[in-house]
């Protein structure tokens, strides 16, 4: 491992030839800066991390890759003392490290920048940095000087007396980073720092990472954007489902392998593999058979800008025929969520138009979409799909309660009888229709949401966004069986997921989204895997 005496590990610029800082190059005697050994963490029924090991040298930028829910944040939170691991051990510079809380982690000079900032908008930069650090007398001048020093040294361009609400998101993040740097950390954890940044801000952040690392600090950079890893990371670890599925000592050269590890390639492990062949044995009714029918979904040049004016979806055009399953593949954060929000009616597109069954629904409300026959399995089940505190029956018919009115009152007897029917048909296991929705397991919750969305009449089109996230293998199969039977009834389905194997197993056609654009379309055949992987990594066809 890199020696303590040689902190300035050669870090990389985008297209530099690989200088080998490899583990073998340095004397193995000095312990790594951070060593994570067989960490496990369980939250209730969810095994968030299992047997995760990782080590990081001084001066190293270590990329931590993985999809949402892969366990990256949990791992960071363990390093920063927010969670205690159930199993395994950590050590820092060879000494056992078991932080009680973040304050303890900071005492060990381990700092973290969270995805969400903790800044007081109405106070100037300097006061925000004083908070939690200063004791007794406020030496504002002294702090301001230190901030100015750090800002100069790292080219951050921060003015100590500017108020936070006058700063851009990128500048606010730099304030958070300065907050860490003032503690002279030996390890800096950055949890998805680039998710909120504009492209030029990302570049300067990565430059900052290089500089801080060159001074001997270790950096854990969490992201699911591969370009960043390629640019700054000397090493990378990929988490998937809470386990380490790949490591690389030269991520810039092995980026395609990392993509595959991130999205999962092991056939048979998931619903894909063998199952995919079965499903293909009964091919979908070819769209050509019914040329007269209007497409189930037609997106015409859809564009979405977020509140900061960043284009998240650009000029996205796609058609889904009745009885067709089209998959949207791609690494998460490439505009899929925004596209899903448009189709769910939760936000109108900023440009373009879209149609369901030939009717324009560009600015339709969720209610109107339901009336034209749009079912939605939302990406965030808990936030949009259900009301956890209400009963299963109420959730199953939340949008149709008016049909259960008897003498003005809600006819709970009939509601619960119908709910029990639906629960049986969709194999939703719960104590009963009156059980609180929160008491159901994730798989049963998802089956209940599917039951609601697939039994809508009329139903022309179904959007299923990450319908299998967090589900076990059995539940995954059940979900896709229902999706397939919807297809058999002539419903057009748009399936958004980052689980490529699942998509290949169930979809008829596959498109790839990258930075909000449609990169390419191909039949959902395993043989296309290489091409798809390339599109996902941003290589044009």
């Amino acid at each position: 491992m890199a020696g303590v005496a040689a902190p300035a590990a050669p870090w990389r610029v985008p297209d530099s030839t690989p200088v080998a800082p490899g583990p073998g190059a340095a004397p193995a005697a000095t312990p790594p800066l951070l060593h994570i050994d067989g960490i496990g963490k369980r939250f209730g029924a969810l095994q968030a991390l299992g047997d995760v090991s990782l080590s990081l040298r001084r001066g190293e930028v270590h990329g931590l890759l993985g999809e949402n829910g892969a366990g990256k944040s949990t791992l960071c939170n363990i390093v920063f003392g927010i969670h205690a691991p159930d199993a395994g051990a950590l050590s820092v510079d060879g000494a056992p490290y078991r932080p009680k809380d973040p304050a303890d982690a900071l005492r060990h000079r381990i700092a973290m920048v969270h995805q969400h900032f903790s800044l007081v908008d109405d106070l100037p930069v300097v006061d925000n940095l004083l908070l939690g650090q200063a004791r007794g007398v406020l030496r504002r001048r002294e702090y301001a000087d230190r901030i100015a020093d750090l800002s100069r040294r790292y080219g951050l361009g921060l003015e100590p007396f500017k108020r936070i609400d006058e700063l851009t998101v990128g500048e606010r993040q730099r304030v958070e980073i300065v907050k860490c740097l003032m503690r002279e950390p030996r390890l800096l954890v950055l949890d998805e720092p680039t998710a909120v940044l504009l492209p030029e801000e990302i570049r300067s952040l990565l430059q900052l990472c290089r500089q801080v690392a060159s001074e001997g600090c270790g950096i854990v950079l969490v992201t699911h954007k591969l370009a960043e890893i390629r640019e700054v990371a000397q090493r990378a670890t990929v988490l998937r489902g809470g386990r380490v599925v790949a490591r690389s000592d030269a991520p810039d050269r092995e980026i395609d392998d990392l993509v595959r590890a991130m999205i999962g390639r092991t056939a048979g492990e998931r619903a894909g593999g063998a199952g995919s062949e079965c499903s293909r044995a009964t091919p979908a009714p070819a769209p050509a058979n019914r040329p007269a029918a209007d497409p189930a979904l037609m997106l015409d040049g859809i564009g979405v800008r977020d509140a900061d004016g960043v284009e998240r979806v650009s000029n996205f055009t796609l058609t889904v025929e009745p009885g067709e399953i089209v998959a949207v593949a791609g690494v998460e954060g490439n505009g899929q969520s925004e596209l899903g929000a448009v189709i769910a009616g939760m936000r109108p597109p900023t440009s373009g138009r879209w149609f369901v069954g030939g009717r324009e629904v560009t600015r339709a409300t969720p209610r109107e979409l339901t009336q034209v026959g749009v079912g939605v399995v939302p990406e965030d089940r808990h936030a949009v799909g259900c009301v956890l505190e209400m009963s299963v029956a109420e959730n199953l018919f939340l949008d149709q309660l008016h049909r259960y009115r008897r003498h003005g009152a809600l006819d709970r007897t009939r509601l619960e009888r119908d709910a029990a029917d639906l629960m049986q048909r969709f194999d939703v296991r719960a104590k009963g229709p009156g059980a609180p929705f929160a008491s159901l397991s994730g798989g049963n919750q998802q089956k209940a949401v599917l039951a609601r969305e697939l039994t809508r009449r009329p139903l022309r089109f179904l959007l299923a966004a990450h319908p299998t996230r967090g589900l076990d293998v059995g539940a995954v199969e059940a979900v896709y069986d229902h999706v397939r039977s919807a297809r058999a009834q002539g419903v057009g389905v748009l399936l958004i997921s980052s689980e490529l194997d699942e998509l290949l197993g169930v979809a008829d056609r596959l498109v790839v989204m990258y930075r909000g654009r449609l990169m390419g379309t191909c039949p959902a055949e395993p043989a296309e895997r290489e091409r798809i992987g390339g599109w996902m990594a941003g290589h044009a066809a």
Binding site: G345, R367, V376, V384, L398, D399, A409, L410
Partner: protein, 359 residues
């Protein structure tokens, strides 16, 4: 719903009642200690309190009327609360209701209406005006996300000062100025517009507002527990995103629910004017709106809770006023007691439920 009744209501409900009782008794004990330390006679104080709260038919009726106004505001509060909206504008809604009821009642055409319309019309007008006042806050919330706590509170100040202005101006509601000592208040409303008494022979000042209030309480309980709208409001309150996705009209519900809350406040104002005070003066609402808010908060979403808390506060107020007049115990003591009860009940619920909320 298949659960036996006892399992659904048993533990939690019983504990809520126990906690409330303990809070009331505890704060009464503290109040007793305070009376004693002030060197006043505890026995006199207690006797005066009991006398004022329920000692005579008149006192009993006055306490119930106070409770009625508080309960109406509290009912409106829990309706809005179901959709996760907090109406703190009861005071202003009462003022608007009182003002509009006075304007209608003082109109000779209205006073001449037959079939009880003379007193019903001002009440309806007051409820409608209160609804509009409340809907304004709902509209601001739905349209531009203005926090309804702030907007209803500020609208309250506007309404209270509008009332003040209306009784100062002879062009509006002030009685004709016959001398320089004419008070800035309205004429008494005609007898036909006053709420008919129920137990006049018994000397009970109870009026028809009471059965109206009881009917409304039953109505609110039914809407919240049994109706489709009740479930939809609950969905909005618990998860507005999911409710929107399920096609529930959030904007309409927000405006509607605030209108209902305002209507209850307006009606309370009308009943205070037409049932007890008969004259509109500055300071007409005198804190009922804020006490009603506390009633709603303490009820924690339950209609029975509203009735119980309103009764408690109604009797406390009546007894407190008499205690000051007869036994020289300051009314402030009643306010202290109210505060203690609130803190005790709120503290107990945090202690019980806060612990459960920790994962």
């Amino acid at each position: 719903m298949n659960l036996p009744l006892a399992a659904r209501f048993g533990g939690r409900q019983a504990r809520a009642v126990g906690v409330s009782l303990a809070a009331v008794l505890g704060s009464a004990a503290v109040a007793a200690v305070l009376v004693a330390t002030m060197g006043l006679s505890l026995a006199d104080g207690v006797a005066a309190f009991a006398d004022g709260a329920w000692g005579s038919a008149y006192a009993l009726g006055a306490s119930v009327n106070r409770a009625l106004a508080l309960a109406l505001v509290g009912l409106g509060f829990i309706v809005a609360q179901r959709a996760n909206l907090t109406n703190v504008g009861g005071e202003g809604q009462i003022a608007i209701g009182g003002m509009v009821a006075a304007a209608f009642a003082l109109n000779p055409h209205v006073a001449a209406l037959p079939l009880g319309l003379a007193f019903a019309l001002p009440m309806l007008a007051a409820a409608t005006a209160g609804a509009a006042w409340g809907a304004l806050a709902g509209f601001l919330k739905a349209r531009s996300g203005t926090n309804e706590v702030i907007s209803t509170l500020l609208l309250s100040f506007i309404a209270v000062w509008m009332l003040y202005g209306s009784v100062q101006s002879p062009a509006l509601l002030r009685q004709p100025m016959t001398s320089s000592s004419t008070l800035p208040e309205s004429l008494p409303i005609p007898e036909s517009t006053q709420l008919p008494l129920l137990g006049a022979d018994l000397g009970l000042p109870l009026h028809v507002g009471l059965p109206v209030g009881i009917a409304l309480a039953l109505g609110v309980a039914w809407v919240l527990r049994r109706s489709v709208v009740g479930v939809q409001l609950r969905a909005i309150g618990l998860n507005p995103q999911a409710a929107r996705r399920a096609g529930i009209r959030i904007t309409a519900a927000t405006v509607g629910v605030m209108a209902v809350a305002g209507a209850f406040g307006g009606l309370a104002g009308a009943m205070m004017l037409q049932g007890e005070q008969w004259v509109l003066k500055a300071g007409f609402s005198s804190g009922y709106g804020f006490d009603g808010l506390v009633v709603g908060l303490l009820a924690r979403g339950s209609t029975i809770g509203v009735v119980a808390a309103a009764m408690l506060f109604g009797f406390l107020r009546s007894g407190g006023i008499n205690m000051e007049m007869v036994a020289a115990v300051p009314t402030a003591l009643v306010v202290v007691m109210q505060g203690l009860i609130i803190v005790a009940i709120a503290g107990a619920s945090v202690a019980f439920e806060g612990r459960r909320a920790v994962p």
